[in-house]
């Protein structure tokens, strides 16, 4: 029994979880600020950190209560120290430091992206019979702030194969949703609108960036803008569902093709999806259908930001000897590899 209490506050979710042996979710508490930020069409950092301060202690207490464990049952404390919003990260890191110091627990700083990948190690329900992913794996991390293709050859061994050269995939979803007046967050809004749309009704470009594993979504965003302007200039209504479907298909096409190319090149045993955009059903369906290798992705509630994944990553890092000192500081643009 090696239980880790994990804390995650990198963006707009205040989260704490208790994880046993890096795989079993004993509790997973997420206080979402989504409704607070929806009014602004995005996360407002100052509002976010104020909310974190208000909710962090109740969220930690609830995580312990739900897991039915006390402080003495814990082996270590894991916390996200980057990447993310500085003010938000600070609340989690300082809380974790104070708790670790007071309770004499080792502290393990975790990279948020590492956490997203390790969501694929979690068992849901806690005693679910499931094998760990076998290395090497190719993992696509897609979220509001990231689009990274990672080769993972062992625990803690990450190599970045490519990432976005401009906007993150999730950011493109948010911005296009804003252009189409679909609201925030953009991912679920576009997915819903796309359901009744025909992706072939309008044509949108794909940035393939051949010979690299880099991504670019800014040109696609601009094409959607141009399209909406053209409809407006002709006095026509924008076919929102068709544009949403065409946009989603364009993003999914590029993500899936490049990820599977990388899986072939590095002869991956498995392909993993991670991050908020991994909740997108079109992405999941397309990659599963097109891949010759097993594809694994977490359930939706472990794709979006949560602390359970930080507990999983923290456990394997702790096993590997990682210890963070009291000088642990936030790193807003922390890279994985």
């Amino acid at each position: 029994m090696q239980r880790i209490l994990a804390i995650e506050t990198s963006c707009d979710e205040t989260a704490a979880a208790v994880i046993d042996e890096g795989r079993h979710v004993l509790s997973n508490v997420v206080a979402s600020q989504e409704t607070i930020h929806a009014a602004y069409g995005g996360v407002f950092p100052e509002v976010a950190s104020r909310q974190h301060i208000l909710t962090i202690i109740p969220v930690v207490e609830e995580a312990l209560t739900k897991a039915n464990v006390g402080w003495r049952d814990l082996a270590a404390l894991a916390v996200t120290y980057g990447p993310g919003l500085a003010g938000s990260l600070l609340v989690g890191v300082n809380t974790a430091k104070a708790l670790a110091l007071a309770r004499h627990l080792p502290l393990v700083g975790v990279n948020h992206l590492e956490g997203h990948i390790y969501a694929n190690w979690l068992r849901v329900p806690p005693n679910e019979a499931k094998e760990d992913p076998r290395f090497p794996v190719v993992c696509l991390i897609v979220s509001g702030g990231h689009t990274d293709l990672i080769l993972m050859t062992g625990h803690g061994e990450f190599r970045s194969l490519g990432s976005t050269l401009d906007d993150a995939a999730g950011e493109a979803f948010d911005k296009v949703a804003r252009m189409l007046d679909l609201g925030y967050p953009g991912g679920p809004a576009i997915q819903k609108a796309a359901q009744s749309g025909d992706p072939k009704a309008v044509s949108l470009p794909r940035a393939w960036l051949p010979g690299t594993y880099g991504f670019s979504f800014s040109g696609l965003k601009t094409s959607v803008l141009r399209l909406t302007r053209e409809y407006a200039a002709r006095g026509e209504k924008v076919p929102v569902a068709d544009v949403a479907a065409a946009f989603q298909t364009a993003v999914v096409d590029v993500l899936v093709t490049k990820t599977l190319q990388a899986a072939d090149e590095y002869d991956a045993t498995e392909v993993l999806l991670a991050g908020g955009v991994a909740a997108n059903t079109a992405l999941r369906a397309a990659i599963t259908e097109q891949s010759d290798r097993p594809v694994r992705y977490p359930p939706i509630w472990l794709c979006t930001d949560n602390a359970a994944m930080i507990g999983a990553a923290g456990y394997f890092a702790w096993q590997g000897g990682r210890r963070s000192g009291w000088g642990l500081d936030v790193v807003p643009s922390l890279a994985l590899a």
């Binding site: 990432s163 950011e171 880099g214």
Partner: protein, 178 residues
Amino acid sequence: MDVPSTPNVQTQHTVMSHSREETTALGEALGRRLQAGDVVVLRGTLGAGKTVLTQGIGRGLGVREAVISPTFTLLREYYSGRLPLYHVDAYRLAGPAEAHTFGLDEYLYGDGVTVVEWGERVEPLLPPDRLEIELVYGARGERQITLTAAGLHYAELLRGLDLPTPPTSSQIGDEEAR
């Protein structure tokens, strides 16, 4: 850098860009001439080319890594060029008070070049002398790019760019009427 401050003098140039490459090239030319402490404020709707222009500025400064969207982290810092490049997206800053806690002024009055997107959100914090660039998306995908230099230092900088259109000068009093 003891250029006397004359914020009431504005110099304006308008150029047309017909492609991503032209916008990048304009940014690059600017990037080669920018100096420590310079502030560039970008205006324009989503997709107008603010990030593309900033990528050009990065190239002109000699930044080696990819200049990517600062939307998620609000700020991205690049140190691999001739001068540090600070790229700020103020869209999600609730106002000047928040920008202050976030330390925006330390970047604005620092040792690098600061590029601010959605600068209108933090207007009171911006130095009176600065380069404002507005990108307007045209009917056929072309961009009308208007560069407004406030203060002599930036007027000099624009003159050095050798832009095709002759400059139009105005007094700050005209600003309200625009």
